[in-house]
C-alpha cells in the first residue's frame, strides 16, 4: 500500500487518453479496435484500483472487471468478423471507405 491510489488512477487516465487518441486518429479499423482494447484496459485498471483501496472485502469489483474482459472479447470477435467481411467487399480496411452501409 505504499503506492497511493492516485498513482494507479493517473496511469489509468493516461491509458484512457492514449486510447481516445488511437480511436480518433487511426484510420485502419483494426487499429481502432486496438484502441478500444486500451480503453477497456484503463477502465479495468481503475475498477481494480478502487476495489483494492476502498472496498477490499467486497469482491464484486473483480466480477465487474471479468465482465468487462468478456464483453471486450465478444466485441473484438464481432468487430474482427465485420472487418474481415468489409475487407472482402471493399478490399481495404480504411474506415473512410465504409461510409455507407449499402454496397
Amino acid at each position: 500500500m505504499t503506492i497511493p491510489l492516485t498513482a494507479y488512477l493517473v496511469v489509468g487516465a493516461i491509458l484512457f487518453a492514449i486510447g481516445v487518441y488511437t480511436v480518433v486518429a487511426q484510420r485502419a479499423a483494426v487499429m481502432i479496435l486496438m484502441g478500444v482494447e486500451v480503453l477497456l484496459n484503463a477502465i479495468g485498471l481503475n475498477v481494480i484500483a478502487f476495489w483494492r483501496f476502498t472496498a477490499p472485502e467486497d469482491y464484486s469489483a473483480q466480477i465487474f472487471a471479468i465482465l468487462i474482459i468478456t464483453i471486450g472479447a465478444v466485441e473484438m470477435a464481432i468487430g474482427l468478423a465485420l472487418v474481415l467481411l468489409l475487407y472482402h467487399q471493399r478490399q481495404t480496411v480504411q474506415i473512410d471507405a465504409f461510409s455507407e452501409l449499402k454496397r
Binding site: I3, L15, A25, Q26, F53, Y59, T70, H88
Partner: protein, 302 residues
Amino acid sequence: MTASFEIIAFSISAFVAVAGALGMATTMSMFRSGIFLMASFIGVAGLFILLAADLMGVLQIMMYIGGFLVMILFMIMVMHDPGGAMMAGMDMSLIERWFSKGLVPRAPPDGNDDGQMHHRGHKQANSARKQHAQENGRDPEKRGPGHHGGKGGSGMQAGGASHGGMDMGGMDMSMVTPVRPIAAWLAGAVGLLLVGMLVLRPNWRFVEALPDPDSARRVGHLLMEKYMIAFEGAGFLILIGIFGSVLLARPSSYPDESSRAARVAVDAGPEPIRDEGLRPLAEQSPASALRSDRRHSDEHGA
C-alpha cells in the same frame, strides 16, 4: 512485500503499460502496434497483480494476450501493408519516428513513386508541426519538428496538396488521419480532465484491510451465488457472439459478383446425372455366365 520492491514493480509495470500504449498509438507499422499492445497488456497485468488481484492478472494475460492478440495479429496478416513500410517515409513527429525506428521505406507497388510520397509528407507536415507545438503536457520529452517539416516550404505544400488527390483513387494511404492534432488535443484534454478530477477530489474513504490472499475462491463463490445472472448472461452473450461472427464470416460472400453468380448458378441447377444405360451383363458376371452356359446347353439340347 517490501516498500521499495513495490515501488520498483509499480514503476516498471506502469512504464511498460504507458509506453506500450503510446507505441501502439504512434508507430506506423500495424505489426509493431500489435506487439506494443501486448507489452501494454503485460504492464497492466503487472499492475493488477500488484493490486492483489491475482486472478485478474492471470485472466488479463490469458484472455488478452492468448486470445485477442492472436486474433489481432491474424487480422493484421490479412491487411494491406502490415509492416508499415509504405508509411515509413512519411512525415512523423518525433515520437512516431522513435517508435517506427528501423522501418525501411518502400515505394508502393501500384506505381506511386517515392517523390509522391515525399510530396504527401509535405502536405501533412504543416498539420504535424501544429501537433508538435501542443503535445500533451504529460510527456516530458519535447517533440521537435517533423522529418520533412524543416524543408517543406509553402510552395511545396501547395504541390503536395495538388498531388494528394491522385493516389489510390483519392484515398490517402496513411494509417493515421489528418486530424491527428485534433485527436491529440482531445486526448490531452481527456487526460487532463481525468487527472484534474483526481487532484480536485482526493478524499476517497480508504479501507486499510488486506484482501483475502485466496481471492480467486471468493470471486468464484460470488460468480456462482450472487452474480449468477450476470455470469449466465455473459455466457449467453458469448454464445450470441460466436453465432454472430460465424454468420458474418461464413464463406457465402464472394469478393466479386461473377464468382458469386457462378456459385449461385451451380447451386440452383445441379448438373443432371448422365444416364448412359447399363451395359448388358452377359460377359462379366458369373451369374450371366451361368445363364449363358444354360443358354448354350439349351441350344445344344435343341
